[in-house]
Amino acid sequence: MKPAPFTYARPADWPAALALLAEGARPVAGGQSLGPMLNLRLALPERVADLRHLPGYAGVSMQGETVRIGAGTTHAAIEDGVVPGRLGEILAGVARRIAYRPVRNRGTIGGSFAHADPAADWCAVLPALPGHAIALGPEGERRIPLAEFVLGVFETALRGDELLRAIELSALPPATHFGHWKFCRKPGEFSKATACVLATPGAAPTAVLAALDAAPLVIADASALLADPTAEAARLVATLALEDPWRAALARTALRHAAEAAR
């Protein structure tokens, strides 16, 4: 089927993009989530605003210890190492396991985060990292802590008149430990359970459990999980009261493996 007819706009700068947004246009970045929805007529926007050409939309810049990743940076660029240092290694490892290379060549970190699919990989990892999502609205930029960005299934803290502009992260010391585990029934499939644990020297460890058909569970202090992965994973998953015993087993396994890998 062809998508229902819509008009395509390519704003030249951010104000133009925000103006289009205000008129009801749907932003598109990599199109790897929106594209299938348009093709199958699950989304029927009248107008689409292509963000890819906006100045500074893709790419990485450093300001002191802060790494700013343009929302339009592709999964593939991150996989190939555009982000420097230990943080870059960690992000590359996550990016490499998103879908397949053709999807990674187009799909963007910002599009993925803004889309907030509960099974998406960035939604399962970014909330564990120290940093902010940078939203751009009519009044300028607003900083949303990463752990507070995803609010629910396909629901974020972005307001209707805002675009996700960038992700700002703190650089990580080389000794940072990171454990990441996800379960897919076949290579490249959306995850059925993802967990990650970040242990930075001198800071409380953090963890995320995601792909639960709900907003990710963010654990601001995961010390107990690191100390006893099996028992604490069981306790945490029990609090979620998941109906499907198999999904619960997966969630426990995900947390346990991620914690063991981060020790």
Binding site: Y8, G35, A76, R101, K186, A249
Partner: protein, 873 residues
Amino acid sequence: MTSLLLNGAATQVAAAPETRLSAALRDECGLTGTKVGCDAGDCGACTVLLDGAQVCACLVPLAQAEGRAVTTVEGLAATPQGAALQAAFHSHGAAQCGICTPGMLMAATELLAATPNPDEAQVQAALGGVLCRCTGYRAIIKAVLTLSTAAPPPPGAVGDSIPRLDGLPKLDGSERFGADDAPADALWLRPIRSPHAHARFSIGDASHLPARLLTAADIPGRNGFGIYPDIKDQAVFAEGLARYRGDCVAALVGERAAVEAVRWEDLPITWQELPPLTAATAPGAAPLHPRWPDNILTTGRLRSGETAPPAAHTAQGQWTTGFVEHAYIEPEAGWAERHGDTIHVHGCTQAPYMDRDEVAAVLGIPLDNVRIIPSACGGGFGGKLDVSFQPMVAVAAWLTGRPVRAVWSRGESLASSTKRHPASIHATAACDAAGRLTSFEFTADYDTGAYASWGPTVAGRVPVHCMGPYRVPYVRSQARAVLTNNPPSGAFRGFGVPQAAIAQEMLWDQLADATGLDRLEFRVLNALREGDTTNTGQHLRHSVGLVECLEALRPHWHTLRAQRRTTGRLRGGVGVACMWYGIGNTGMPNPSTMRLTLAPDGRLTFHNGAVDIGQGSTTVLAQIAAEALGLPVSALHMVLYDTALTADAGKTSASRQTFVSGRAAQAAGAALRGEILRRANAGPDARLTLSDGTLRVNNEPLRLDTTLEGTGSYDPPTVPLDADGQGIPYATYGFAAQLAALEVDLDLGTIHLQKIVAAHDVGRAINPLLVRGQVEGGIAQGIGLALMEEYLPGRTENLHDYLIPTIGDVPDIETILIEAREPLGPFGAKGIGEPALVPTAPAILSAIRDATGATLRRVPALPHRVLEAIRGH
């Protein structure tokens, strides 16, 4: 206007900026090498390079390609690396039907540009987004890994592994599949399908629509089709009652843009939902069709042996399987055009002669006024035996006088096409203290869905095959095809036998354990051998290679079993299973005719009506015909399947083309040779050569004044089955045994396949390269049946919820070919298309049991089911 650097040339494309790049390439630029299998990023058939990076062209709006370099399969041959990749795919048999090949080639091109010497894991990662349903991926991996070592092919005698003769167009994008070709002025047809499993509907005034709405009232002839001459129960457009989700009730026909713009809410159709019939055999259940008051379409039975010998051990169990989708990467597509009082129908099909009969009846015109011209077929596996678009586009073209085309979307293909029958099986088996089988009892209900399709064939084949290729003195078997409001179940590689083989082989494992016999030796002990009589009373004089298959597996069995991990979270297991498969129709005629001509100008032509759906019959039949004639394959010109140009070679199903059409090709070759030798007055051993238009017999030129012809026909000798299933259902059988080695994650219930070893008795491998390709492809489908595939109407109507094996799911496969010659077959050959799939699922389940002790009762063995089985054990 969008400007692209398209395959190196600056190109302006006029399409709207939001047009998908795949559509722009195909519809605006005429580059149909880029395929469309889903429009959702799931299949990778549309993979192209954008500035050298592989992307799904269906997910890139044209505007995003502005000013960028776009490389498609058509541009590949221009680079040395691209040409080398194409050559490697050709020589390794990495393209079967060829519909996935452009995507595979493009993904591999990106990989090789960055990593000229990749390892296997890198190839799997880079090609992971492209699905293939034919090859099982192993040949594709090999082709990418061994680019440079393509050896020159052998000449093409019987037994030579030559690359497929019709292979090159599959590699450069020039092959035309059902959606690749249609007159520019063709109207567009869009079927309207029931969103409900069971509903009454009425269609009101459609005059407000910008396109014509065709309904049952518009059918000029018979509004019904079906596989059997006396069962035409499926309407082209249903009349007031929709019997499954996907049932076609009408079709919009008009200019493409107008047809596509019609919204569902605009259609003047009112629906009254009815409760779908699920427990169809319950007493008092309403009949789906008045003709079958108890909803039982057919019952197949077999009774053999009067009393069972005394038994020492018995085993019994119940198994259920789900709907399985063919998931050919090419959705149904084609077009029709009226020429005076004749209709031409083009498109993908496995059965052009059956299509001709259906179209003629639906239009109410004589057979001779219908011509079916098959396009290349992007996978079939049984699912393109039934008509789909053919009668609809034919009716539309007939009525409008304009060419009319149709292309099913993936969701529509999934919802409307036939499926593998879900089976619910109960079976009991027994053996004596020494492990010799004494009895086998089997009853099964096969959910045949809303229409008959191939249900009777399945119900007929299963009782004959369900005890497997073993000596069993006492057998009682019964299979019923039951009508429900589910999608019609039809023909799918194996016609019900793969489901039955699961029960049979799982019981053997239990009996082997009970007697203390090794599971493989238990099968050797009970295997059919030459000289045995089957449970249908058929004496097997020749070509029973099962024991050789098992013996060939024995060393692998011991090695793999010795290597498996028996402690820890990951538990190793090795399984074994056997199968037999009757080649051709069950106790029914299924003739084929082949023709060779030699014109006075020396042009030698092979007229071959057997549709090659990727399995390789075009190549194999040419090898047979050439060998029988005594000239090389390269001397043949081909006229391929077209009901106006070739004789009836039956349908491409039941693994029959090599055996049945092959025998006809052999006879045609021999007939033409006889004609030549008679004219030359030469003896039977004379040597023929053909060069520069001159035929020489023992080096003497033979001048011809007329065209010589050799025609051969073959219909395998069978005897119809009686009420107890006694008779000679098939002239010959393929035999096989497979091993599966895997690990089960005891925490998660996931299965990691490590290796499959497959030993197949094919009689004679006319072309071992192509036979191996069939085995590997069949095994991949068997893996899907065993571990992941389960179609749920309304819930898995796309290729991310309906999972088929990817390049990362198929382990190393070792194929061992056993050649127990079949005297009836061409040069001793039998068939391989379906047999390859049958033993895989039971071998995998046997390995899971070996690893965990748990018997899976329900396939696919999804992780949660495996865990439940382990916990319940």
